[in-house]
Subunit: 471 residues, 2 copies
């Protein structure tokens, strides 16, 4: 053992250090397999005090830290670079629910608690922790807050930051900041928790968070609908929204995206007529007499009458509801199986979603005939995963057009006053886009804040903000 690893071992014990190359591999490769980094070893503190000691030693040694939770970033945000001077600090051993209060509807969870474990802990107390996304079995509370994750339920409950009341973090000098308040109103100084949320590990190490809970739903209605066209998707969303119908999710899927799921995922079938566009509608309420099924039926009847909806089904059971959701949730896996793909995680004002779908599809087909344009996503909050899949047998041609396709989609998003990164963040992949889209005064404020809170640039260097040469 080198002296450095010995210093860490004295703090963390043998269980807290991973240095076997085979054991380290999963920590060093990002979820999409785009980046392989190097780290002398991986540190796994089990308590906030251990985490603070780790950061202090790294500070005295001039080492950089890459915070990592479930390592499910889609923008390579939680793996080190290849230089070998960045140490991965994995929070997965900090996985305690410290407190859960069903009266206040709050929970204090450590950073390494998975999103699924947090949901389950809430449910045991007849509460709901509503954040929900495909990677919830692996993604952690620390990670979803550091990236301000969104997911399916933003239209009802907001993004991760909106579910957070307070944060505990290790600052770059190794001090513990305990900001774990549980208050809905607390106007005492700058909202530091909102600065750490979405900071992608560049300001410190989030070790715990106090979170909002909601009453657990007892009534639910889940419908799957075939739609006339893009405009019908928006119109149907507006019908439900205007009725105060307790929408929990409103997901859009293109016909091409659903076709990939039907072709490539065994055991998935479409329970309604096929179409060019689909919506999954999920209503939920803690009021047992909310009558959500009646509301869903009545809204769908109106939309069938106008022709917006071509065909629809409402789940008769929890199992049916899960089967409908599975069609939506298998989109990423189906696209992975179909070969090369490009993930454009974009957002636009909700009213512009139909225009985005039409214009970006036309632009991509013009660049590469045969391309499979397979958008899907969270229509209710304007966030569309405008994903592109290679033509069958056309990987090389697709790869050659990679940059042109991304540029074409982003140029339409820009015209529609949207964002090039709705919920995935910047990570290591979109540094140039951030500087381009948020340049000038805004980018300078980013840099000023980074310099003020992490003056030596020790936290997650090379992520979100392009590195500055040392002065």
């Amino acid at each position: 053992m080198t002296p450095l690893v010995e210093r860490f071992a004295r703090v963390l014990g043998a269980r807290g250090i991973v240095d076997d190359p085979a054991d380290m591999a999963p920590y060093l490769r990002d979820w999409r397999g785009l980046r392989d980094g190097a780290s002398p070893f991986v540190l796994r503190p089990a308590t906030v005090e251990e985490a603070a000691e780790v950061v202090k030693i790294a500070a005295t040694e001039g080492l950089a830290i890459v915070p990592q939770g479930g390592n499910t970033s889609l923008v390579a945000g939680a793996v080190p670079d290849s230089g070998g001077r960045q140490i991965v600090v994995s929070l997965t051993r900090m996985n305690r629910i410290r407190q859960i209060d069903p009266i206040d509807r709050t929970m204090i969870a450590e950073a390494g608690v998975t999103l699924k474990a947090a949901q389950d802990a809430a449910l045991e107390k007849a509460c709901l922790f509503p954040l929900s996304l495909a990677a919830e079995g692996s993604a952690t509370i620390g990670g979803v807050l550091a990236t301000n994750a969104g997911g399916n339920t933003t239209i009802r409950y907001g993004n991760a930051r909106d579910l957070m009341l307070g944060i505990e973090a290790i600052l770059p000098d190794g001090r513990i900041w305990n900001g774990l308040r549980r208050l809905r109103k607390d106007n005492t100084g700058y909202a530091l928790r909102h600065l750490f949320a979405g900071s992608e590990g560049t300001l410190g190490l989030i070790t715990a968070a106090s979170l909002r809970l909601f009453p657990a739903p007892v009534d639910r209605a889940v419908a799957f609908c075939a739609l006339r066209d893009e405009d019908a998707a928006l119109a149907l969303y507006r019908r439900f929204d205007a009725r105060d119908a307790r929408l929990r999710a409103f997901e859009y899927m293109s016909g091409a995206a659903v076709d990939l799921v039907r072709e490539l995922i065994p055991g998935v079938s479409l329970p309604i007529a096929s179409a060019g566009h689909y919506a999954l509608v999920d209503l939920s309420s803690s009021d047992p007499s909310a009558g959500l099924r009646d509301i869903a039926e009545s809204v769908l009847a109106e939309a069938l009458e106008t022709g917006e909806v071509i065909d629809a089904t409402i789940a008769e059971s929890q199992a049916q509801a899960e089967a409908l959701w599975r069609i939506r949730e298998e989109h990423s896996e189906a696209q992975r199986k179909a070969g090369l793909s490009i993930k454009n995680d974009v957002s636009v004002p909700v009213s512009a979603v139909p225009e985005l779908l039409r214009a970006a599809t036309a632009a991509c087909v013009a660049i590469l005939p045969g391309i499979r344009v397979a958008p899907f996503g969270h229509l209710g909050d304007g966030n569309i995963h405008f994903n592109l899949v290679q033509p069958e047998g056309g990987a090389a041609a697709f790869a050659a057009k990679n940059d042109a396709l991304i540029a074409a989609v982003n140029s339409i998003v820009r015209r529609l006053d949207g964002s090039f990164s709705a919920e995935h963040g910047i990570g290591a992949l979109k540094l140039d886009q951030l500087r381009d889209w948020r340049g000038g005064a805004e980018y300078e404020m980013f840099r000023a804040i980074k310099t003020a809170l992490d003056p030596h640039g020790r936290f997650n260097p090379g992520k979100m903000l392009a590195e500055v040469d040392a002065p």
Copy 2:
């Protein structure tokens, strides 16, 4: 005219400068009449370009700027000090609604639009801008965002920051930052808008904001209830909340506070039996068939059965609903008429509200027998205005105990993990408390951010953060 005022006059024209002492007076005295400041003149830009020019000139002249909206701060946050080197910049001429979109449910409003005008503009498009507070006829969008105002509807819609999608601001060097995005999801860099929200004018001049709207309510039920005790107030809140009853507000009032309204405000009467504790319950929905009155009746029937509720009435008309709300809204005016008062704007976790009410009442009565302990506030979000009113004829004794009474309430709030400033902020009045309660690493981060974004300390010096001696 001095050369300085001439420079500003060239940018703003005569209408944009107030320099007559009588005309200036309302800009220099805070709403509670606690502070009288001095300013060489008051500047009133009408456009974002004028505002930017004003800040640039102030920067070159080394003058400080005090941003001001409706001047309704309860902590003297928007008036200058007495030194005469701080210039009030009033945003009230920037009062345009630049855009309103009922499909996206967004509005772009300039900083000087009053909260009431923003509500009315939304309503014209069958939308709701839900932020609601007593000063809404004067308070402005810029002010409510700079202070992250809360008010009555936080339990349903959140605080001001939760209703904000983007911000436009003049930075301390005079540059315009246009962050007026209208997206529900946009993970591109640090959340600067959340740093400006609640910054109390210390980081720059908010000139406009993009805001979230909601469907306008069409069904409503407003009830006024007499309660058995403090615990019953919490229990009743939980009954409504668990039913997904579309609570828009749940306001608590102590018997002493309501008695002051009945004594001192003409035309207000109590429509139910008198009691030691009351609640105002307001349900609203955009679904015409939501059946809110039935829900209210059913929940109240349960609570009458258990004895939590002693007596209750549900408004039969909009006029009756307004009459019930008037009892709540006249609290500040009644307390003003009753003589000296202390406003403790505190919050605790919701479950601790009954304990706060009991313990703080006992502590204050022990310090000053005869004191009128008259708490009221937003029980659903844990924010109680634990206000204290002088004994009749006992102003001097009350004033002598001012600090002891504040300390006694705050010490109980601290024990209950609460906050000394829930929604009013820090302003010029609570600088020491901020340093005390949020000291150490947290306060140092506040200072680092202030220095990073306003390095010369030009924006609202002496507010929120204690001034640092020049190096």
